[in-house]
């Protein structure tokens, strides 16, 4: 009856001083919220899949993390989301990539796993599958956050200078495409 739950919200050159104390507290509180969402499910005899989906949805709905609401912008100024999920009992898996209108990509990945014969759906086809299965699409501006937009503008400046800006590309989820 042992159970256990672990989450992450991304890796990078995050150092003390690179984020404010208030931001640090915000991250910790949101991580705690996601952690306990999964814990409550597991404690109440819920499945590992349900715990994983619930926690990731909380982080996707937060602008703090690079997923869902807090997603970064691609070169065209659009948010492009990817997700995957896997069930260890039977190696069932589902994934989606390159979607622009899915509020919770992890839930669509799970839907692909449970309601299709496929593993990975991409782009328009993935969104068509979502619509066909009752997932409401959200407008692209749902994903807009000023912080991520400014990061894109900074990255584009780097493009113009033909050099990589002196910012950490993982922490800022930055890389030339």
């Amino acid at each position: 009856n042992k159970f256990l739950f672990v989450i992450h919200g991304g890796a990078g050159t995050i150092t003390k001083g690179s984020i404010t104390a208030v931001e640090e507290q915000s991250y910790k509180e949101k991580l705690k919220e996601a952690l306990f969402a999964g814990y409550e499910i597991l404690k109440n005899n819920g499945s590992s899949l349900d715990a994983v989906e619930a926690a990731i949805k909380i982080m996707e709905d937060s602008p703090l993390f690079n997923a869902g609401k807090g997603a970064v912008f691609n070169n065209k100024g659009k948010n492009e989301l990817d997700a995957s999920i896997m069930d260890g009992r039977n190696l069932n898996a589902g994934a989606i990539a390159g979607v622009h209108h899915i509020k919770n990509p992890i839930s669509l990945a799970r839907l692909v796993m449970e309601k299709s014969q496929h593993v990975l759906l991409t782009g328009d086809g993935a969104e068509e599958f979502a619509s066909a299965n009752g997932i409401q699409l959200v407008p692209e501006d749902y994903f807009y956050t000023e912080k991520r937009w400014q990061q894109l503008l900074k990255a584009r400046e780097g493009d113009k200078k033909d050099s990589i800006p002196k910012i950490n590309y993982i922490n800022s989820d930055y890389k030339f495409g």
Binding site: K2, V6, A11, L49, I56, A67, N74, G88, A155, K175
Partner: protein, 132 residues
């Protein structure tokens, strides 16, 4: 990128990962997050979710490699994950980390950057969230 791995009371493992990719990416670039075996993997041995420089995680089949090392080499979860992050990836200049748990309730959260937003909670309710 965000991710989660879980072991439930029935002994079942699961893993999930979700991401917005990389700022300013072009040409429909896709990283490891939606690639089963690269950024996400779960079987009856362990569950893994990765974050970092996706191209390297794809080329090294990182998430699956954790399970493979445990299955074929008899490595512990910690041994497998530490070697992949701090040896294999580090030598290639790849930055990132992963979270993993195994069927026996062990956990690992290695990373080779200066920080990774992460947290765990155990059956007895003991928990921790860390950044650095």
């Amino acid at each position: 990128t965000v991710g989660a791995v879980a072991l439930d009371k029935h002994g079942n493992l699961a893993a999930g990962t979700s991401t917005g990719g990389m700022t300013n990416k072009k040409f429909g670039r896709v990283g490891d997050s939606p690639i089963i075996g690269a950024g996400t993997y779960a079987d009856s041995i362990c569950a893994v979710s990765c974050t970092g420089h996706g191209e390297y995680f794809i080329k090294n089949a990182v998430a699956y490699d954790v399970s493979a090392r445990m299955k074929y080499c008899g490595h512990s979860l910690v041994q497998a994950t530490e070697d992949i992050i701090h040896n294999v990836l580090e030598k290639q200049g790849a930055k990132g980390g992963l979270i993993a748990i195994d069927k026996d309730g062990n956990l690992a959260m290695p990373f080779n950057t200066t920080g990774m937003y992460r947290g765990y909670i155990k059956e007895n309710g003991s928990w921790e969230v860390k950044i650095y």
